[in-house]
């Protein structure tokens, strides 16, 4: 029994035609059933991945820019805050100085007034005292001496005496 191939018989051309037609039909069917939708889906996926990568990169850049902006704003805010604080300190100092100054001034003027009052009181008291002493001395002297020494003479005499006292 020698194995022979079916090729050695009459060439079945019909089979070849059938095989090629069947294969082409299968190609058309697969194109609509599988290959077309699959390539479309694969392309769509590739596009989507590309877009996602792009947008991710953009989002990343945006976020970085935003971080920088926020940091800048934060620094500006800090500066502003410290400026506000130093301003407040300065104004508080100024105010307290002004208050102190007015208080000092007031105290000084009060002191002056008081001194003036005291001087006045003193001179008034002195004057009253001079008068009282003169009158008293005249009375005493007139009683002691029993002389008719005029009051005016006595007064000038005592004034001269008191002036001498003042000069000492």
């Amino acid at each position: 029994m020698v194995p022979t191939l079916s090729m050695s018989k009459a060439m079945p051309l019909g089979d070849m035609v059938f095989i090629i037609v069947a294969f082409l039909t299968l190609m058309v069917i697969l194109k609509y059933v599988a290959y077309g939708p699959l390539t479309k889906a694969l392309d769509a996926r590739a596009d989507k991945i590309n877009n996602d990568l792009d947008s991710a990169q953009k989002a990343n850049e945006d976020a970085t820019a935003l971080v920088a902006q926020r940091e800048q704003e934060l620094a500006a805010g800090k500066d502003q805050a410290s400026q506000v604080i130093s301003n407040a300190k300065k104004s508080a100092k100024d105010q307290s100085e002004a208050l102190l100054k007015t208080a000092n001034d007031q105290a000084l003027s009060l002191k002056k007034v008081a001194e003036a009052d005291a001087d006045q009181l003193k001179s008034e008291a002195l004057a009253t005292a001079k008068k009282d002493v003169a009158d008293l001395s005249v009375t005493i002297a007139s009683k002691l001496m029993q002389k008719n020494l005029s009051a005016d003479d006595q007064r000038s005499l005592i004034d001269a005496y008191l002036a001498e006292l003042d000069q000492q």
Binding site: S6, I19, F23, L26, I29, L38
Partner: protein, 240 residues
């Protein structure tokens, strides 16, 4: 094997029932697989879609290794169909062979038929030659095919073109045919004339082992056929 065949004539052409039935069954299986796996094609793939996408990627990878991008894209559908069809056709006979009472095997691997393998090889090579003519012009195509790398190589190049065709077809046919032949021999060993039980015990693991081996062979041959189609196309269109 000198097996009886069942043929009929139509429009003066001879048709072989075995080829027609086996081819149609292989086609139906391919279509069924394709339809089932691509019922819901989405950007986020399901399990089935993933599987067939893997096949598509695999085929694209085979072509992409050989051909420039635009040609690989053009050949995508052809190679995808060829690969699916061949792998189903190669494995089909391992599972299912139907032999009728008149001794005719109506269903087996269609690729175990030399005519089938030659037809596919002719189709692939015609595509490759057509691509060559389209890419280089007829003169350029002839020059590229016969006078490369120099004119003196002409006789060898003629032989090479012929052997390309023969090897493409015979490699596929031989592997699958031999695989099925071995399966049949092992099966007839199991049902030997005497000591039935003993032969089955011996033949059963051998059959399993050979089927596993043939599965591998069938896959490899489908891969090789698609790859060689790409290689010849690249050679004939000057893209080596």
């Amino acid at each position: 094997m000198d097996e009886p065949t069942s043929t009929f004539s139509f429009l003066g052409l001879t048709f072989n029932w075995t080829t027609i039935i086996s081819t149609l069954i292989a086609m139906s299986i391919v279509v069924l697989i394709a339809v089932l796996l691509t019922r819901k094609v989405a950007i986020r793939p399901s399990k089935g879609q993933n599987a067939i996408e893997y096949v598509l990627d695999f085929v694209r990878g085979i072509l992409g290794d050989q051909l420039p991008a635009n040609l690989a894209r053009q050949f995508g559908l052809y190679a995808f169909t060829l690969f699916l069809f061949l792998i189903v056709a190669n494995e089909m006979g391992l599972l299912l062979q139907v032999k009728m009472g008149n001794g005719v095997t109506y269903v087996k691997s269609p690729t175990a038929d030399p005519l089938f393998a030659f037809t596919l090889a002719i189709m692939s090579l015609m595509l490759a030659h057509g691509t060559g003519v389209k890419a280089l012009g007829f003169g350029g195509y002839l020059k590229n095919m016969f006078f490369k790398p120099y004119v003196a190589m002409f006789p060898l190049n003629v032989v090479e073109q012929f052997t390309n065709f023969l090897t493409l077809a015979l490699r596929l046919f031989g592997n699958i045919f031999a695989g099925e032949l071995m399966l049949n021999l092992l099966a007839s060993l199991a049902w030997g004339t005497h000591l039935n039980g003993f032969w089955i015990i011996l033949a059963f693991p051998l059959e399993i082992a050979w089927q596993a081996f043939s599965l591998l062979i069938g896959g490899i041959q489908a891969y090789v056929f698609v790859m060689l189609t790409g290689v010849f196309t690249a050679q004939l269109s000057g893209n080596e």
